[in-house]
Amino acid sequence: MTDVTASEYTIPKPTLMRQLVGAAVNLTAISNAIAAFVPALVFSLMFISDGGQRVLLPLIALIAGWVFGAIVHGMNSRRLERTLDDYVEVVERIAEGDLSLRLKMPALDVARRDNLVVVRLAGAVNQMLDRLQRLVTEIQRAMQRLDTDTQAILDATARQIAMANEQDAVVTETTATVNEVRATVTETAERAQSVAETAQVSVDISRSGTDAVSETISGMSLIRRRVEDIADNILVLSEHTQQIGEIIATVNNLADQSRMLALNASVEAARAGEEGKGFAVVAMEVRNLADQNRDATVQVREILGEIQRATNAAVMVTEEGSKGVDQGQMLVNKAGESIRDLANAIEEAALAAMQIAASTRQQTIGMDQLTGAMKTIKHATTETVSSTMQVEASIQRLRDAANKVNSLLSGLKI
């Protein structure tokens, strides 16, 4: 197409003009090519942050060259010439960065090829300018969004860092608390262990107490039997003393009779006079014996009375004793029951204390695991903070690049 256009322009012109037109045709071709690549160039401008102005200026210079060619081409008509002069002025202002300007569509006869070219050129330039304007506007909007989004990301990372720091503090605090709890749990385990040991000792003691109580119970039964034996023996003794009393009465009676006989003998001896003297002595001896016998029986009777009183007292005492033994047996049985209950309770307490010791040991293990987990969390938090800070730096660099793009764009008037 470019070749065809060039050959068409070359036919009617003189040598200088032909050269100019040839250059213009070439420029047109180049500018067309450039115009075809303008979107690509503008996109690359967006991503390459430097030299926007410098790329745009040669581009506009090319367009101006092309326009110049067209002016030369349309020299035949002064109106075409004036139009082209206007166009040059406008394009120069566009080159300075005012993208809001447009070429006026000329009131030219489009039947002529030259005029047609100029009109097409103006339309194309205006179209290009429209696209450029839209592009820059789009870029500006995108840059605004970029700014907002990166700002949001920066806010988010700042919050993340703050939260991570807070998390770190909380984890440190939790670790300290867990250590304290672990110390308490360890102490509890030790205490429970010592309680279990003490309870075991108590169980042994209560067992020996139970044994002692059973021994006491059997001892009480033995005492009871002994006391009953004593009571029986005392009853027998009492009966015997009664029998002795009867015997003593008999002896006393015999002594009285002996005395009477002796007195009679004495009387007879006295009546016998001299011949009875020897007999009187014998009779007196018999009487003395009888008196002594009587005295002895009196003493025996007194002793027997004492014995009887003593046996009565003993019977009463043994009765009280057996009552006391009954009560003692009852009390010992009660004590035995209490000690057995106590032993059971202590055994249960010992079991519970051992279970407490075991579970507190397990708790200690759990606390250790918790401490490990806290360490891991702390490490992860630290890493989160450092990577978030890296993200923050990257975003900052991104924003710097966007600022450069923005400053470039601000040079353009839309």
């Binding site: 009285d256 009779q257 009477m260 007195l263 009679n264 004495s266 009387v267 001896a269 006295a270 009546r271 009187a280 007196m284 009487r287 003395n288 003493q299």
Partner: protein, 171 residues
């Protein structure tokens, strides 16, 4: 009791030794006026009766009360088939009665046999007549010794007309 007993036995032995040693001489000297008496206690007094009048000494058997007799007659007892009247001297002498009297001395004089109540018959002993202090007011007493032993005159006592029931004094 042991020491007391020893002392008492020693005392007894001493008395006995004295008895064995002394009487022979005294009897030799006082045999003529010596009076052998059976001593007994009744009430607050100690009495003595001449052994010559004493028939027997024994414990008081069951006394059968006899109606319509003076109060000093306690009643009668059966001694080996022989009925003996029992005389209470405390009532006879108007003295307070002795409730503990449980022995009986059978005496005989003036064809009369009688039982005398006694609380305790003590001894046979020899009393010199010279030592007796006569009791003029009382007929049936020979006298009283220094030891307040009243020696009864059984002969006189048994002849007391009060003892004879149905005698002149009664009716």
């Amino acid at each position: 009791m042991g020491w007391d007993d020893d002392a008492r036995q020693r005392d007894l032995l001493r008395q006995r030794a004295e008895q064995y040693a002394a009487p022979l001489k005294r009897r030799d000297e006082t045999l003529a006026d010596a009076l052998t008496v059976l001593t007994f206690r009744l009430g607050a007094e100690t009495y003595g009766v001449d052994v010559a009048a004493v028939r027997a000494v024994r414990q008081l058997p069951r006394v059968t009360v006899v109606p319509a007799v003076p109060a000093f007659y306690r009643g009668v007892v059966n001694l080996r088939g022989q009925i003996i009247s029992v005389l209470d001297l405390t009532a006879f002498f108007d003295l307070p009665p002795d409730v503990d009297a449980g022995e009986l001395i059978v005496v005989a004089a003036a064809n009369l046999e009688l039982g005398l109540l006694a609380r305790h018959v003590e001894d046979v002993q020899t009393v010199p007549r010279s030592t007796l202090k006569p009791l003029d007011s009382i007929r049936w007493a020979l006298g009283v010794t220094a030891e307040q032993l009243v020696v009864l005159d059984i002969q006189q006592l048994l002849m007391d007309e009060r003892l004879i029931i149905g005698a002149a004094g009664d009716d």
